[in-house]
């Protein structure tokens, strides 16, 4: 064999190996002739469909928080690897995969158990009405359900300014499946989300990948399956058995948002900046809006608010009239001035514009009341 033939063999091997990872993606995706409205219906039908697989999520929100907010900052500002077994909304398991262990959520009915390998502890608690985002919220189907809530599937025929519009995108191969593309265009001027692109499994409607865009051309949050199986997982895999020697402790409060919702002595008004309240009246925390236009008002005690104020200030927040305002992509974060006689400050955050946050803060100053 001559030298040129030997190097030709090497070049051939190189080309084959370089193309191998692309082979799966090179298979053209089969599209279906569905209108945007029909695809939206298929996606909504898929909310209860079972599935399992692995997911990679990536956030670029860059929240500058630490202490009790560290998990939230990691969730929305970093890479997250998840593994999921979803038998239905009342029976699922989501593992956050780490190089040094994993943190697992086992959900049955209204109770969720969290297992943390490295801390060697298991905690059980009821699902609260209000809580901070957690790993399971990053799954493409869960994220899609949150953002598509209230979306208009009539392809713009209703003409209402408040309704978001959907349109079709091209199909994509995702985790070996055909993903049908759908774009949600956000028309609400109060929202800081520009649009949401998603791809749903052609046969089950389960959302396989989702990209959320703020003002720029790069998605601020992406989540996609890297492997996917539409078969129903067995009950055995979603059941948590506490390891020997590990005692499951009961956690009545999940996080500070849950605590504020249950025990804060004041309650926000029924509407803020024109957005209607979506959670129960008379509770400490107010959740407002729907779909991609969401806002939450959480009352904080002064000592908690002081820690947050420092973090916002150090991250370059705008300070005006006792209010701190920070923008992390489409996510606005505002800490209001102290309102006597409550001695509480409101944390306002959501996917809304700065102007909407200021209007909401004014609404809180006027409309908050004792419980």
């Amino acid at each position: 064999m001559r030298p040129i033939h030997r190097w030709a063999v090497v070049a051939g091997v190189f080309v084959l190996l370089a193309l191998a990872p692309m082979a799966g993606r090179a298979i053209p995706a089969h599209d279906r002739s569905l209108s945007a409205g029909q695809l939206l219906s298929l996606v909504r039908d898929g909310y209860t469909a079972p599935y399992s697989g692995t997911v990679e999520a990536s956030g670029r929100l860059g929240l500058p928080f630490n202490d009790r907010f560290t998990d939230l900052a990691d969730l929305l500002g970093g890479q997250t690897r998840l593994r999921v077994w979803w038998r239905g909304p009342d029976d699922w398991r989501v593992d956050r995969l780490l190089d040094t262990g994993e943190v697992d959520l086992f959900h049955h009915q209204d109770v969720t158990t969290q297992w943390d390998y490295e801390r060697d502890e298991a905690s059980v608690g009821p699902d609260p009405e209000i809580r901070l985002p957690r790993d399971s919220d990053l799954l493409p189907p869960r994220l899609a359900a949150l953002l598509l809530a209230g979306a208009d599937g009539s392809d713009g025929s209703s003409g209402s300014q408040d309704e978001s519009q959907v349109s079709r995108l091209g199909a994509r191969r995702i985790a070996g499946r055909d993903g049908l593309g759908l774009r949600l265009r956000v028309d609400d001027p109060r929202s800081s989300i520009d649009h949401v692109d998603l791809w749903a499994d052609a046969s089950t409607g389960t959302v396989l990948a989702i990209d959320v865009y703020g003002a720029g051309s790069v998605p601020v949050l992406t989540s996609a399956f890297t492997s996917f199986d539409s078969a129903r997982p067995t009950f055995d895999v979603t059941r948590f058995r506490a390891p020997a020697g590990v005692r499951q402790h009961f956690e009545p409060l999940l996080d500070f948002a849950d605590a504020a919702n249950q025990y804060a002595p004041l309650t926000p008004p029924e509407t803020l900046a024109g957005l209607a309240r979506s959670n129960r009246k008379g509770r400490g925390v107010g959740a407002y809006g729907t779909g991609p236009t969401r806002l939450v008002a959480i009352p904080l005690q002064q000592r908690d608010a002081a820690v947050l104020t420092d973090q916002l200030y150090n991250s370059g927040a705008t300070m005006r009239h006792g209010q701190s305002l920070l923008r992390a992509g489409p996510l606005g974060i505002m800490l209001t001035a102290i309102h006597s006689p409550f001695e509480f400050q409101w944390l306002l955050t959501g996917t809304v514009t700065d102007d909407t946050l200021r209007r909401a803060a004014a609404g809180l100053a006027r409309g908050s009341s004792y419980r």
Binding site: R83, D104, Y117, R241
Partner: protein, 271 residues
């Protein structure tokens, strides 16, 4: 030829000094953990290290996780980089090839020798880790079984099987490094250049893995799946990245061995 290379590697004082140096770090870490009783905070440090204070039998895996990112690949790069270039630098390559030995066979023998070196190193690290884990670490009062990352119990047999699989995976992960170093060893005239070239590739790969802009390159980066052996300790076992890691290393071995063969077969041997 293979027997000759294996004997040479096993009789080499340098091989055993290198293995001892690699083994020294996990030994030091075990002693520090035993003396201070302070483990790494969750999410920090090598895999399994936070668990070894209560489960000493996991220390072989922690020891492998300690040496795998840097110490072991550096040693492989030096050993494999020396395979051909070292002979050339010492002026013995001509005499080796005078024997009725094909150049292809010589390359294969060199790769087998490096593989054996990695295997011996991993076994020494694992056995040392097990002895230290049982004697110095772990909670002797605790009778609770070892668990997977997912919290399910592992029997002693299952733990041994999964540890064996993890060691085999670590061995495979080093074969890609060995193939690159072997190729460079056929190209350059000094072992140091071959080792440095290989280390440059490894550092570049590690750096690119952290860069979002290099996302498209990730499936090809040699260090991409090195630590995926931890997925063998999830329940159910997550095979996805383990399989991709094996395929990636196989790809590196095939490509760089082919390149080493193409280069070495036509190379003028003057040293």
């Amino acid at each position: 030829m293979i027997a000759v290379e294996l004997t040479k590697m096993l009789r080499s004082r340098r091989s055993w000094v290198t293995i001892a140096v690699i083994d020294a770090l996990p030994i030091l870490v075990a002693v520090l953990l035993a003396v201070t009783d302070i483990g790494p905070r969750p999410g920090t440090g090598p895999a399994f290290l936070s668990a070894v204070l209560t489960k000493g039998e996991l220390y072989p895996l922690a020891a492998v996780a300690i040496v795998l990112p840097l110490f072991l690949p550096a040693a492989v790069a030096i050993t494999a980089g020396d395979a051909v270039a070292g002979e050339a630098q010492q002026g013995t390559l001509r005499y080796v090839l005078v024997r009725p030995v094909g150049r292809t066979r010589l390359l294969v023998a060199k790769l087998v020798s490096v593989t054996a070196f990695v295997l011996v190193t991993l076994l020494v690290v694992a056995v040392t880790g097990l002895v230290l884990g049982v004697l110095l670490l772990g909670d002797s009062n605790s009778a609770t079984p070892t668990t997977t990352f997912s919290g399910t119990d592992l029997t002693t047999t299952q733990l041994a099987q999964r540890t064996g699989l993890a060691l085999a995976y670590a061995l495979l992960s080093m074969l890609g490094v060995a193939a690159v170093a072997l190729f460079l060893s056929t190209v350059v005239r000094t072992p140091l250049a071959a080792a440095m070239g290989t280390l440059a590739l490894l550092i570049g790969s590690t750096l690119l893995l952290t860069l979002d802009a290099a996302h498209a390159l990730r499936p090809y980066l040699v260090t991409r799946y090195w630590l995926s052996f931890v997925d063998l300790f999830r329940d159910p076992i997550l095979w996805h990245d383990v399989v991709l890691g094996v395929l990636l290393q196989a790809g590196y071995v095939v490509l760089f061995l082919a390149a080493a063969w193409a280069n070495f077969m036509t190379k003028d041997i003057t040293d």
